[in-house]
């Protein structure tokens, strides 16, 4: 459903991605792993329209979305839960969630989606009137995912959802990510937590220096000597 064909992305003169190609199939969970600064977040920013590639193309459900605005891309059904959560600190939890639904269909079904979000994250329901800025890091991550669900995405992209969370909460978040996938949403997940990422994904890509160094079924990557050495410390 998503296909990146050889995209080059630059920050000014600095090239961050070199010919990255990647696909996500319907219903699939795909992980992207790599160390710091290798271009993982940049890949997501290019997909969600925050950055436009200088070369290559991005197709989503048979449409070319390479040059679309972030807003148009959300409307087509891609939701990006960014690095660092990026919630709205002075808005309440409920307002943050409401802001996740910007287009007619998601707005119409907002009530229903909210119930779904509360089923995943009961904690958010207890904090509805609280300002998002006063939530703990873990709660903000829940809120960011919940907000991302409000747009009824068919593809959800999560950038390091486990970063800075307690081990217990990491387990919970990954369980919920799997449930979200079981509801029919495709997922593209970036993780430093390589074990977890390959554990829940069907396929994975390894980014090194802005290019795809390795890709394949997650099980094979877990067994790959290079991955084991460089990312799992085995």
């Amino acid at each position: 459903m998503l296909e990146l064909k050889g995209i080059d992305v630059y920050y000014g003169d600095l090239q961050a991605l070199r010919g990255v190609s990647l696909t996500v199939g319907a219903g699939e969970v795909v992980s992207v792993i790599g160390s710091n600064g290798m271009g993982k977040s940049t890949t997501l920013k290019a997909i969600s329209g925050l950055l436009h590639p200088r070369a290559g193309s991005i197709q989503f459900q048979g449409r070319d979305i390479t040059r679309l605005t972030p807003s148009a891309i959300v409307e087509l059904g891609i939701s990006h839960v960014p690095e660092g959560r990026q919630v709205f600190p002075s808005l309440t939890v409920l307002e943050n969630l409401e802001m996740g639904a910007q287009f007619p269909e998601p707005i119409r079904r907002a009530g229903q989606t909210l119930e779904q979000v509360f089923a995943y994250f009961p904690r958010l329901k207890e904090r509805l009137k609280q300002k998002a800025g006063t939530l703990s890091g873990g709660e903000q991550q829940m809120l960011a995912i919940g907000r991302g669900l409000m747009s009824l995405p068919s593809l959800m992209m999560l950038d390091e959802p486990s970063l800075g969370l307690s081990p217990l909460l990491v387990e919970t978040i990954f369980e919920i990510i799997e449930q979200i996938n079981q509801q029919g949403t495709s997922l593209l997940v970036i993780e430093q937590n390589v074990f977890h990422a390959l554990g829940i994904s069907h396929r994975g890509y390894v980014l090194e220096d802005g290019g795809v160094a390795l890709s394949g079924p997650s099980r094979e990557l877990l067994a790959d000597p290079h991955v084991r050495k460089a990312y799992l410390g085995l």
Binding site: L50, S71, P82, P89, E95, M99, G100, Q102, S151
Partner: protein, 289 residues
Amino acid sequence: MSLALAFQLLIQGILLGGIYGLTAVGLSLIFGVMGVINFAHGQMMVMGMYISYWLLVLLGLDPYLSLPLAAGAIFVLGYVMQSTVVNRILDFPEAMQVLPLVAMGLILENLALLFWGPDPRSPSTALGLATFTLGSATVDVSRLIAFGLAIAFTVFLVLFLKKSATGKRIRAAADNRLGAQLVGIKVDRVNNIAFGLGAATTGAAGALLLPLMPVSPYLGHDFTTTAFVVVILGGMGNLLGALVGGLILGVTESLATLALPATLKQVVSFGLLVLIMLYKPQGLFGGRR
């Protein structure tokens, strides 16, 4: 010093302070959302005065009735300014944001000069001279109406931002621009609306001021600085703070005439500014950003 005079000055200060507050609310909104200081703010207020003046002279429309038209026209002006210029300079260093906005202020000032000439104009309005007494003080009806409408406009604006879908989008974009883009908010358009609203607010303040003082093209600078002092006083980006700050400045300036000649008005406001900057740089009520 008579108590009656002090009371009279206090009332006058409060009433004028409402208008100071209103224009400052607009400046504060623009800063709170975009992080930009609108150096054309006073000139936009003058435009509000002239539009209201024109509607009065050409169509015989009372300024209080033409207020929505003046506010609407300045809304459009603000919207266009944001979409053509300000959106492009949002990521510039602050020092570089100053010039384009100052330039727009100068353009507006010169347009006013072109259309209406340099001479002050003071139209006579229906309620211009009506007064009533309150205890020992005399209250101008037009000042009281201006005050009431200024408060009402501010309350309306605050409620709009708090409750309406557009208002929530504005607050979301102000809070976290990246987050707003990622949920699908068209941030540029929301910024245009926010700047338009801030501009409309100062346009409305201009219309309310028209019956109270003669309008001339050069008033803009003073209005901008006054609004700026009030915003610092109330806390940058804090709307209700701006309204209260306006009242404080109005009263301070007014009462200061007991001791100082009225021409030293600016000394008072800037003295206040310096004190606030030194001892309470976040403003009296705390800012955002």
